[in-house]
Amino acid sequence: MAAAEKIIGSRIKRREDPRLITGEAKYLEDIQLPGLLHAAILRSPHAHAKIKSIDTSKAAKHPGVIAVYTGKDFADVNPMPCAWQAGKVKNNVNTPRVLEIDRVTFTGAGVAVVVAEDRYMAQDALELIHVDYEVLPAVVDAEKATKAGAPQLHENAPNNIALEWTCGTQDTTDRALKEADVVVKQRMINQRLIPTPMETRGCIAQYQAATEEWTVWMTSQAPHVMRLLMTAFVFGVPETKMRVISPQIGGGFGAKIFLYPEYCLMAALSRKIGRPVKWMETRSENYIATTHGRDHITEIEVGAKRDGTITALKVNTYANLGGVLSTIAPGIPTTLYGRMLSGTYRIPNIFCHVYGVYTNTGMVDAYRGAGRPEATYVIERAVDLVAHELGLDPVAVRRKNFIPPEAFPYDPVILNGLKYDSGQYAKALDLALKMLGYENFRKEQAEARKQGRYLGVGFSSYVEICGVAPSAWIGLPGEGWGAGLWESANVRVHLTGKVVVTTGSQSHGQGHETSVAQVVAGELGISVDDVIVQHSDTLGTPFGYGTYGSRSTAVGTVAVYNSLQKIKEKAKLLGAHMLEAAPEDVVFEDGKVFVKGSPDQSKTIQEIAGAAALAYSLPPGMEPFLDNTSYYDPPNCTFPFGTHICVVEVDKETGEVKIKRYIAIDDVGKVINPMIVEGQVHGGIVQGVAQALWEGAVYDDNGQLLTGSLMDYAIPKADFFPTFETDRTETPTPVNPLGVKGAGETGTIASTPAVVNAIVDALAPFGVKHIDMPVTPPKVWRILQGNGG
């Protein structure tokens, strides 16, 4: 179908942009309701303390204050659920309550709430609440927290260990390391990040006593899951008692997937007070109370033969999970990390051991890439360490170990039964090298060194896992995910021929309203303008698990595609009936049904939709209307891959690292809208490079966040970057009929090792073998001064 292929794959402009660019889109902060009250939350200034008593009497008397509550007032509300109980976490689960009752384990935990006629009054009254704390010693470092004598956060988690998890086999890996020609050991830190979406979190809850029903607006990437968790797990009421709406979302990056205590608090307050209650997070609150990402301390041992063949990889990681567990925290440093440590390479022996650790810091959960950036950093640094040790070209070592195209589907063993779907790793690398002009670069680098200028190049040949996940796999006991991971869609062709798609997936910057419409338009042979895509409201959309893990296209849009096939089948039956032809003689092409070979005698999809809706003359047994709902449970995950190359120059005087070139070749399978994919890739690279060079959350030893504002936490600016040089190879996945893999996270996953490898390459004349992120000027300067490498 020529027309269809044209729409699917074309760079049409995003249909959601006009409302965003003109400022007409409505965010949570824009919602007004009659009688709306405003809440402000008192947060613990201590990282670890017992709450001895709370005096709210003065605050309650403040003008405009409706109510003041503490944790004790909500003792009947369950703590937040932990939905991904990987490893042995089960017995050690400690999650936040709407307000903490007798103990806080991180700075920023909520201890009291004021509800007032406006937010200013509520904020004023917070200052009048007196909390008597008994301050306890704190620990913020995940490795130190497991050692004898460390402050203990939770009685059910001795040595602060929330979970212990392994994958691979220890004895064969140890043996392979013993037998290896060389073994390289390295300790590396994947520092904590603060997601920093432009829009902070917020929630409005409205309770109707007569029906015992809530309507809740919240900044969520997964409204259906929020409804399920709040009703069934936190309040113990039927799911039907709540409607959740995500308005326009100003960026999530993972941090808006989770069920946060503030959302449940608003629901509880509205039920108690009988008026709608709103809370909008301030930026300062966002930095301490919204989830963070990464925060691994890792020791690796990698064994190789003298020719560069990698024979074993052993990884031991302390993953900092914060003071309490966020919704899916345990799954990130386990399933999404350890299982991807083979990267793009055949590594016969891998063993990964992970401690998930409680510390007196903010909660850590999925942040763009979620586990895979950490895994990619480990393996892509490991390859460079091997190359460095053996004096080999890092490109050659990559090539030597690549999984070859004919080996797919490839079973890296540690994936617990899943197989890499498709890949042409060398092809992507070759294209990237060609864009770089590798040989010329090495000459330029040598010349520059003679002049005392330090250039470096870094490679990252990554593979990631997305399109999560086959329910039967993610539901395996070892994985611990507490649900399925399919997606759903409903497609309705109205009487007028206009199409309404409702999806359980949620769009907050990914462009679903455009790319899904392209698939519909392409399949039905209609204009994109005749398709509308609705999402983000549990009323009127089928259940879906939400948008994260680059799964909306590879899972959610496949559900749409499957419904379209069923609608086309029905249109063919009805079209044949209208043409008085036998169903087996007709075809559906370019939006028309006609008898094979006679396209001038045809019925358009619009005519057929009209006939289906009017139902004056339907074939015997056919129901009116073109309407179909699909539930798609993927048979496998998808595995995008590619090569990123970064070229840097290090300023000898200041230690500043300047990105001179950034080349990204990504293979995300079939592409529906190249412009949207490029946008995702660019944004991802920016976030990944930012981790490599600038971003990093820092807590002091008492658990105070030192980087608690945008004045200290360095999110990148546009002028920090050169123009990215991007291109693609296209290896469709056999996993789904669209051939799509997923493109939301490749940039963050691939980029950190590309940058760090480049810096290490630049600093090779100084004997540098590794440097931890963020590679700030003072760190590099110290190396250049000859102290600390």
Binding site: T282, S284, T654, D712, A714, K717
Partner: protein
Amino acid sequence: MYPSNFDYQRAASVADAIQKGSSDGAKFLAGGHSLLPALKLRLNEPESLVDIARLDALKGISVTGSSVRIGALATHAQIAGSADVKKHAPALASACGQVGDPAVRNRGTLGGNLAHTDPASDPPTVVLALGGKLHLQGSGGNRVVAAEDFFLDLFTTDLHPGELITAVEIPSIGQAKSAYAKMAHPASRYAVVGVCVVLEVSGGKCSKARVAVGGATPKATLSAAAANALVGSSLDTAALDAAAQALSADLSDVMGDVYAPEDYRRAMAGVYLKRAVRAAMG
């Protein structure tokens, strides 16, 4: 980000501003780009704000005799774009052009910046190096204070309570060369270190020099040692290295933080001195 309650008053004239500003707990509001963030974090809870932003008497940039007079309300963007400032005090135009981002430069004022004296600010360093004078007006009358006597410490100036900066007067650099070189913090874009040099050169030799440092130190600071290392030299590499060393050694009170520790800032003062000299000599 919700400030506590305050009264808002708009000043009708300079005299009115001074009268309103003299009451307890009053604060002047100019561009609001230092004051409002502090209010929102409740680090500052004034009882009333006296808005001076519309007082024409505090606006404008003019040249009188051999100096340029910059009204306290001149914005960073106006200063950066002013032909008069570029001619007579080019380092100040350059520094103001490096303040924050365009939004900050379009709202923030020179008077507000100097009154606030954030240690990481740019203009104080330059005004100090250029030998600027601050014109102040308060209930006790008018006075003129040299920049050297105005900046006292971290966020602390010689301003009396209720006193207003009305203008800043900067002597024209004439034939001298000058430049401001800054290392910007990647998050805030404030100065991690900023160095301003003013150099007189005759017969290929530096005959006079002034060197001021900011960002690294609690307040903008002049370094005679660094200046002396430059004077008499031909500003060659050896002289610059010596001056950089002299400057790093001269700074008594260097600050450190999570991003840039004390020893790094000290070293960077020297590096940016060299960069400023090279930029000045063009």
